[in-house]
C-alpha cells in the first residue's frame, strides 16, 4: 500500500520533469528559423474552425439553461432585472471560458494526442527525425500555437452565444429587445472582469495544445498507446484547466482589489 503510494508520487514527479523538458524543447524550437506557416494555418483551421459548431451549440444551451434556472431565484429576491447582469458575469468570467476549454480538452487535446500518438506508433515521427527534418517544429510548435490562438477566439464565440441563449430564455417569459439586453450585459462588465477572463483562455489554449502534444509525442509504440495518449491527454488537460482557473482567479483578485 505505502509502496504503491510512493510509486505513484514518484511517477508523478518523473512525469512533471518530463513535461518540463518537453516545454524546453518546445520553447527552443519556437524561435528557430523556418516557422511552418502553412501548417500553422492548417492547424488553426482544423482546431478552430471545426470546433465552432460544437462550442457554439453547447454555450448557447448553457446560457439558456442558466437563465431558466436563475430566474425563479432572482424573482424570489424581487431582482428579476438583475438577470442580464448575473448572466453576463457568470458566463463571461467563468462559465464561458471553462466550458469552452473543457470541450476543447475533450475534442482538441484528445485529437492531437491520438494523431501524434499514431504518428509515433507508425514511426512517422521517427522517420521525420531521422531524415534530418525537425518534427518538433513541424508538428508540436504549430499545434500548440494554433490552440493558444484559437481557444480564446472560441471562448469569445462561446460567450456571445451563451448570452444569446440567456436572451432567448428571458424572451420566452418577458419581452426585452436584443439591443437592450446586450447593452445591459456589457455595461455590467468592467475591464477588470474581462482581462483576467481573457488571459486565462490563453493559458487554457496553451495547456490544451501542450498536453495533447506531450502525450502524443511521448506515447509508447504499441497500438493501445494511441488510445491511452488520447485519454490521458483529456484527463490531464482538464485537470490543468481547473488548476489554472483557480490560480488566475486568486492572482487577479490580489492584483485588482
Amino acid at each position: 500500500m505505502a509502496d504503491e503510494v510512493l510509486k505513484g508520487w514518484r511517477g508523478w514527479f518523473a512525469e512533471s520533469g518530463e513535461q518540463l523538458s518537453f516545454f524546453k524543447v518546445f520553447f527552443r524550437n519556437l524561435f528557430r528559423s523556418g516557422f511552418e506557416w502553412s501548417e500553422f494555418v492548417r492547424q488553426c483551421y482544423e482546431i478552430g474552425y471545426k470546433s465552432f459548431t460544437l462550442v457554439g451549440t453547447t454555450a448557447f444551451i448553457m446560457g439558456l439553461v442558466l437563465a431558466l434556472q436563475l430566474r425563479p431565484t432572482l424573482i424570489g429576491f424581487g431582482a428579476e432585472s438583475m438577470l442580464p447582469k448575473s448572466l453576463a458575469v457568470s458566463i463571461v468570467k467563468e462559465i464561458g471560458p471553462v466550458i469552452t476549454a473543457i470541450i476543447c480538452a475533450g475534442k482538441i487535446a484528445s485529437g492531437i494526442g491520438a494523431e501524434l500518438g499514431s504518428m509515433k506508433v507508425t514511426e512517422q515521427i521517427d522517420a521525420m527525425e531521422v531524415s534530418g527534418a525537425n518534427p518538433v517544429q513541424y508538428l508540436v510548435v504549430t499545434r500548440i500555437l494554433a490552440t493558444t490562438a484559437m481557444v480564446p477566439l472560441l471562448t469569445l464565440l462561446g460567450d456571445v452565444l451563451g448570452l444569446l441563449g440567456g436572451f432567448v430564455a428571458i424572451n420566452v417569459n418577458g419581452n426585452v429587445s436584443l439591443f437592450l439586453y446586450f447593452n445591459k450585459c456589457i455595461s455590467s462588465l468592467g475591464f477588470s472582469d474581462l482581462l483576467p477572463a481573457f488571459i486565462k483562455t490563453i493559458f487554457f489554449g496553451f495547456v490544451i495544445g501542450f498536453i495533447g502534444c506531450y502525450k502524443g509525442y511521448n506515447s509508447n509504440k504499441g497500438t493501445e498507446s494511441v488510445g491511452l495518449a488520447a485519454n490521458s491527454a483529456v484527463v490531464a488537460a482538464s485537470l490543468w484547466i481547473f488548476v489554472i482557473d483557480a490560480i488566475v482567479v486568486q492572482v487577479s483578485n490580489i492584483i485588482i482589489y
Binding site: 494523431e115 504518428m119 522517420a127
Partner: protein, 261 residues
C-alpha cells in the same frame, strides 16, 4: 609497452576510417534494454558502394543496430563511426547533417498519412534540401516516383495505397534526397514474392545507379541472394558469420545454415 601498441592500432583505425573507404566502422558495440543484453559485441565495417545484408532472428537486435547508426538509440559502449565521424560525439547540428546523408527505410514505410504521396516526397526536398524552385521539385518528385513505378498514384493518400505501394512510396521518399548511405529495414517483409523480387531488384538498381552504400536487413533469402555483396549473420548479440551469400549459405554452422532451409 603493450599499452602503447594497442593505442597505435586504435590510431591506425582512426586513420583508415577517415580515408573514406569505410563508410561505416563499428567496434565493440554494446546495448542493453533493462536487463536484456540485446547487442553484446558488434564489430563490422561497410565499404563504399557495398551492399551488406544482415540476417538474424526476429528480436535479435537488427533494427537496433541501424538505429544506433543514425543516433536514434545511443549505444552503451563501443566505437561507432559513420562517414568517419563518431556518432555519439556529434552535436545536434552535426547529427542532423549526418542524417541528411543517410536514407532510412522503415519497416512500415512510415509515410506521413496526412499528406498525399506528392507532398510526402516534397517534404524532405523543401525542409531538408531547402529547395524552393517548384518546377525543379516537381521534376525530381516525378523522376523518383517513376523509378519506383508509382507515378500514377502521385496524388493519392497513403491510406489508399496497398502495402507494396506504400513500401515503394517510402523507398521513393528516402531516395528523393539522394542519400549516400541507405539503411533498409526489411524492405520486402509482408509482400508477395513477385513484388518482393521487384523491390530487391530496385535496391540493386539504386546501388548501381547512385553508387550508394547499403545495409539491408531482411529475412527474405531471395532478397539477400539478389542484393548481397556480403552477408552478416547476427545471433545472441554478435555477428557469428560473415562472407558472400554463397559462402554463408554453405556454412557448416547449424544456426547459420538453418536460415537457408
Amino acid at each position: 609497452m603493450r599499452h602503447t601498441e594497442s593505442e597505435k592500432t586504435v590510431k591506425k583505425n582512426v586513420r583508415s576510417a577517415g580515408r573514406g573507404e569505410e563508410v561505416i566502422y563499428v567496434r565493440g558495440l554494446k546495448k542493453s534494454f533493462g536487463k536484456k543484453d540485446v547487442l553484446k559485441n558488434i564489430n563490422f565495417e561497410v565499404n563504399k558502394g557495398e551492399n551488406v545484408v544482415v540476417l538474424g532472428k526476429s528480436g535479435s537486435g537488427k533494427s537496433v543496430i541501424i538505429q544506433c547508426l543514425v543516433g536514434m538509440i545511443s549505444p552503451d559502449e563501443g566505437e561507432l563511426r559513420v562517414f568517419g565521424e563518431e556518432v555519439s560525439a556529434l552535436t545536434e547540428k552535426q547529427l542532423k547533417k549526418l542524417r541528411i546523408r543517410i536514407g532510412f527505410l522503415f519497416q512500415s514505410g512510415a509515410l506521413y498519412d496526412s499528406m498525399t504521396v506528392r507532398e510526402n516526397m516534397q517534404f524532405p526536398l523543401i525542409r531538408i534540401l531547402k529547395m524552393n524552385d517548384q518546377n525543379e521539385i516537381d521534376k525530381r518528385v516525378e523522376e523518383v516516383l517513376k523509378s519506383v513505378g508509382l507515378l500514377d498514384s502521385i496524388d493519392k493518400m497513403p491510406s489508399d495505397l496497398s502495402g507494396g505501394m506504400r513500401k515503394r512510396a517510402g523507398l521513393a521518399r528516402t531516395l528523393v534526397v539522394n542519400p549516400e548511405l541507405m539503411l533498409y529495414d526489411e524492405p520486402t517483409t509482408g509482400l508477395d514474392p513477385i513484388t518482393s523480387r521487384e523491390i530487391s531488384n530496385l535496391v540493386l538498381e539504386i546501388q548501381k545507379k547512385y553508387k550508394t552504400t547499403s545495409i539491408i536487413i531482411t529475412h527474405d533469402m531471395e532478397c539477400a541472394a539478389i542484393t548481397a555483396d556480403r552477408v552478416l549473420v547476427l545471433n545472441d548479440g554478435e555477428f557469428i558469420a560473415e562472407g558472400s551469400f554463397e559462402e554463408v549459405k554453405s556454412s557448416k554452422d547449424e544456426f547459420v545454415s538453418s536460415f537457408f532451409k
